[in-house]
Point group: C2
Chain length 342, copies 2
């Protein structure tokens, strides 16, 4: 197996910096759009054969890991909060959490039953990969999931989420606890199904002040990473806009912390500690830049990583649909070659 | 005059920490909604008597400064980019910048002619204030204005803006230069019309990496603050999500730097340097919290300021419409009293 990615997560020496991309399987790829012409996003997620097929599509780009095609919101439906993806709007929850009683009604599911299709997708993906590269599984972190449950979809200011958090601290912690149990169970089940590594997406946690993060979120996230320790599989703890939360997120856990482009990688790595691996941190918009500017940006990131063991090259947030797959392929090659020379 | 606000901007001792709020005149106030029942936002901006009336409405809340009721987008219309506010959508530009030639067509206006109504609003506001509290004028910073011009409205990822910036660096700098000339002229004209201080809103600049900020934005912003020096009026340099940009923003200029709630005030102040004043940094969502939690959050900010000369209490971004004016009033009193005790 090409094990650069796993070696980097363990901070072992690698022949070249491993590369993968968040949303590396997605709308920017013609072969994905061909499948989406016949199936919705949720249909692909729920049909393990299709999910596995899409999961492997980015292999042709030379990436050093595949990530299961799925969505962080999948657990919410069996928990009692159905949702759909509305064109141009992103996810829309049909019955968002409005009051304390809505938290009581949320079901703590067993992912091995309710999300069996996800686990089957992992088994099929592993089989199809045949050991070529490792497979990443993932889940949404409790704050980010709670924000969808409370806002009913995407949000600009996360007002409803923060308001609920501040006005109903007891119900907030109950909500976070329910989500944390499901998330930890899902990650462990995915590991048991064959995932080689897991990533926890706390995509929107950067909206919080460090004080609110430590009070209202960190203990729950720490609980999840503590549970993962029993499985001895590496984990990535990801967020965006987390410049002031990095120390607290590192305390919560993760073999690697994800950084976005706002935080210079050298400074971010210093702050999370060099006893962790570090993933990032190209601005995905740079993939639309002329090749010279793109490669220069990649080189700056490699220079910040400074040849230290434990760097995984990635974008700081998902690849955008306007991206050209050939550019992604060229970037993968460039990062491999440039890091070999360093 | 109650000159706490101006004294704090000059880092002189004050009897109590001055307080004002971004969007302190706005939809959360019944007297503003009463006027909005008969006039659109732009109509209020363009009728100096109405603008002055709304500007003074927050006086009843006990704030230590008023800010002219206006909008950062006002210069764009005479520059050749008309816009309107669509219900629930925010601003929509009718002809966004799509290509290099669109930048060439942008007119560099003289704000004393094209925005005479803004300057008249300042004169009327000053007159009506009768020296009670200082009057703040403001403008949008070139990056934030450019983002509206390129995105055509609000944006989640600022993809079009960044893409233009990276693909067409020469046209980008030409655009920033045109905007910078207009913004500097507008701020100076507002000072000459009687404004006691000015704030530059670079609200969305936190989307950029420090490298991109320094390369593509900072020189233009520095040019604006350099021009302001001739007027000897204090200035505030504001952005959100700027945790990794603070040093570079401070280098660009501003008597005070604005911080949002993501950055602990003590750390932020340290990073911008104690030779600057510091404005912030309550999460506006906290104004929806129970009073005890709200006051505790305010006390934490005052504790971070640690009695140092030069702190102006404010929210880290605008007050949200769901806010109750009586809560704002109570918070102003609390900050005044608590800071007197410290």
């Amino acid at each position: 197996m090409n094990d650069r990615f796993l070696r980097a997560l363990r901070r072992e020496p690698v022949d070249a910096t491993p590369v993968w991309f968040m949303r590396q399987a997605g709308r920017y790829m013609p072969e994905y759009r061909a499948i989406r012409a016949n199936y919705t996003l949720l249909e692909i997620c729920k049909q393990p054969e299709l999910a596995a097929e899409v999961t492997l599509q980015p292999l042709r780009l030379g990436v050093d890991a595949c990530i299961l095609f799925a969505d962080i919101l999948l657990p919410l439906d069996p928990m009692g909060c159905p949702f759909s993806f509305e064109k141009g709007e992103g996810p829309v929850l049909h019955a968002p959490i409005r009051e304390v009683a809505d938290v009581d009604r949320l079901r703590v599911i067993d992912p091995r039953e309710s999300l069996a299709y996800v686990l089957e997708g992992i088994r099929l993906s592993k089989q199809a990969l045949g050991g070529k590269v490792p497979l990443i599984a993932f889940a949404g972190a409790p704050f980010t999931l709670a924000s969808y449950l409370l806002e009913g979809g995407k949000s600009a200011n996360f007002l409803k989420t923060k308001r609920f958090m501040i006005e109903h601290p007891q119900a907030w912690h109950a909500l976070m606890e329910k989500l944390s149990i499901v998330v930890a169970d899902l990650l462990i089940a995915q590991i048991d199904a064959g995932a080689d590594a897991v990533q926890l997406f706390d995509s929107w946690v950067g909206q919080l002040s460090p004080h609110d993060y430590r009070t209202s979120v960190q203990p729950h996230v720490k609980g999840i990473f503590d549970k993962l320790k029993a499985r001895n599989v590496p984990s990535i703890h990801f967020g965006t806009g987390t410049a002031t939360l990095l120390e607290a997120m590192a305390e919560a856990g993760g073999s690697a912390l994800g950084l976005d482009w706002r935080m210079p990688l050298a400074e971010g790595w210093q702050r999370i500690g060099h006893d962790r691996a570090c993933q990032g941190n190209l601005d995905p918009c740079m993939l639309l830049a002329p090749e010279k500017a793109l490669f220069a940006a990649a080189d700056r990131i490699l220079a910040e990583a400074n040849g230290r063991n434990g760097h995984i090259f990635n974008v700081g947030h998902g690849i955008v649909p306007e991206t050209c797959p050939e550019v992604v392929r060229a970037l993968v090659d460039h990062v491999h070659e440039a890091s070999r020379r360093l």
